[in-house]
């Protein structure tokens, strides 16, 4: 079954396009920064801005890909086909989840590796020092956060039985609603955004809102609830 999922990833344009658009936007951002940066400017101008752009875009790309893994079947109405090839629905969910994690991992590693290269080139262009180890930590942190958001989007697409609904819901939460949730006293710090940021901060060594263990538990809770509810709905209901 993993072989079939791998073939879908290779055959469909969505994963390739997501990677190309992500890298394109990062490169365009870097070029713009290089053009407008003042001569003899700070490191911020040469590689920290592209880094911030990459962190946002890789998260959006991961959400797109996470929602796509199951959303593809709903959008193309091929779930009946998939469910007769793998009639155990629980196993089908696990195969899809495994495929999502694998795809997201490959995506974030590729994007963050190329981003690091672009940043190094930018630093060289601006003749500023490039702290590779520090930027590597930042890239790993951003990659892990993006991967977690991607898995969350996978769960939402499964829960809503729709690529579009899963994608939009995940983007709205990641880019808007989560910031609001974080403002809620006492429990706001356990929002998915807050928890994933805390995990990322633990990687970079920055001060985090939540301790790493608590942050991981909060993230696991969010993922288990969404994916569990989606899987329960998928397993118990008839396929149209």
């Amino acid at each position: 079954m993993f072989a079939a999922e791998l073939l879908k990833i290779r055959s469909m344009p969505a994963p390739r396009l997501t990677l190309i658009i992500t890298l394109g936007l990062i490169v365009v951002g870097a070029v713009i920064v290089a053009v407008i940066a003042p001569e003899g400017g700070s490191a911020t101008a040469y590689y920290e801005v592209p880094d911030l752009i990459a962190q946002v875009i890789v998260a959006i790309g991961a959400i797109v890909l996470g929602a796509w893994i199951f959303g593809l079947e709903f959008a193309s109405k091929t779930l009946r086909l998939a469910a007769t090839v793998q009639p155990s629905r629980a196993r089908l969910v696990l195969v899809k989840l495994g495929s999502a994690v694998g795809l997201l991992l490959a995506y974030v590693v590729a994007v963050m590796a190329i981003t690091l290269l672009i940043e190094a080139i930018m630093a060289s262009v601006g003749s500023v020092a490039f702290p590779f180890a520090q930027q590597l930590d930042t890239a790993v942190s951003a990659g892990v956060e993006a991967l977690l958001w991607g898995v969350f989007a996978f769960g939402l697409a499964l829960l809503f039985r729709s690529y579009t609904a899963g994608l939009v819901a995940a983007l709205v939460l990641a880019l808007g609603v989560d910031a609001g949730l974080q403002q809620i006293p006492t429990v706001g710090k356990y929002s998915l955004g807050s928890a994933t940021t805390s995990v990322g901060d633990a990687i970079t060594g920055d001060a985090a809102t939540l301790a790493l263990g608590v942050a991981l538990l909060a993230v696991a809770g969010w993922l288990i609830v969404v994916i569990g509810a989606g899987a329960a709905r998928f397993i118990s209901r008839d396929l149209k």
């Binding site: 079954m1 072989a3 344009p13 090839v85």
Partner: protein, 307 residues
């Protein structure tokens, strides 16, 4: 009947307060081509979804290759089927070949396996194998869907309206393909609204109405002879009818000059003697065979509005 590979035993499936399938019982014999017939909404697609595990029954038992629905063995049995249910389900942005490769990968069949080229050839899509499916017509999609159902050489092929969208040539090819499945060790369960086509394609028929079984058996026994048809010389029609009526035989004269006679239990020779005694010598005397359409319409309209 050969041993059944599929059995429905008092299966009921309800959607809300409506029973889409209602106490349905039928068997499908190994290496047969069975037609599942019924009007729109009779429960054909639901029946097919139930046997493929895509929907779960509310009551009753379904046995597929001896495995009961709801067991792990049933899931394994579903993998021994190939299906095309309702509209073709395809990955639009992948090519025809990629669609088949994906299906094959799910069954452990490699991308370079000759089965892939063979099935593309079988459904007549070899020349379009590198085209994206989104550019295909409905007929080509039907062929693709059939290729996906057949490529892993399943033991049971379930086809819901397989000739939808096919041109006349495609219909003939599809008929020949379905007819050839038993010789390749496969069993087919086919639903279609095109009764004439079903009549030419299947060995066995299951007719359902409102989710209930109303007829099941070999097509030859369902399309029974129900009398004889006479053609008499011009001007002899009234004399023939009068002689038959006098002999207590029910007969009807049609505009085309044919007389249809309900022979009941009497052999055709008795009818010939009645006519000869009246001085009428038929030009033609042949068994009247009901076609599937008339049998289907009789069966599906009988009892309508009752209960």
């Amino acid at each position: 009947m050969a041993s059944p590979i599929l059995s429905f035993d008092s299966v009921t499936k309800a959607y809300g307060s409506r029973n889409a399938v209602d106490g349905l019982c039928f068997d499908v014999a190994e290496r047969s081509v069975t037609g599942l017939l019924g009007s729109n909404g009779a429960g054909k697609s639901t029946t097919m979804k139930l046997l493929l595990g895509l929907a779960a029954p509310n009551s009753g038992q379904i046995a597929l290759f001896g495995a009961l629905q709801g067991t792990a063995a049933f899931a394994a049995a579903v993998r021994r089927t190939g299906s095309h249910i309702e509209l073709p389900a395809l990955y639009e942005r992948a090519t025809a070949r990629q669609n088949i490769e994906i299906q094959c990968a799910g069954f452990g069949i490699g991308r370079r396996d000759p089965k892939i080229d063979a099935v593309l050839e079988t459904v007549g899509l070899s020349s379009r194998s590198t085209d994206k499916v989104k550019s295909f017509s409905l007929g080509m999609r039907q062929r693709m869907s059939l290729a996906l159902a057949l490529v892993h050489e399943p033991e049971l092929v379930v086809l819901d309206e397989p000739i939808n969208g096919l041109d006349p040539e495609g219909v003939v090819e599809m008929r020949e393909l379905i007819r050839s499945l038993p010789s390749r060790g496969m069993t087919a369960l086919v639903s279609s609204h095109v009764l004439d086509e079903i009549e030419r394609t299947v060995d066995e028929i299951v007719i359902i109405r409102e989710g209930k079984l109303i007829a099941e058996g070999p097509i030859a026994s369902i399309i029974t002879t129900s009398g004889i048809v006479l053609r008499v010389p011009a001007g002899n029609g009234d004399a023939a009818l009068a002689a038959l009526t006098a002999a207590g035989v029910a007969a009807t004269v049609f505009e085309n000059g044919e007389i249809r006679v309900d022979t009941g239990d009497q052999p055709g020779s008795v009818i010939a003697k009645v006519l000869a005694d009246a001085g009428v010598y038929p030009d033609e005397l042949r068994p009247q065979t009901a076609d599937l359409e008339s049998v289907f319409l009789d069966l599906t309209s009988a009892g309508e509005g009752v209960g």
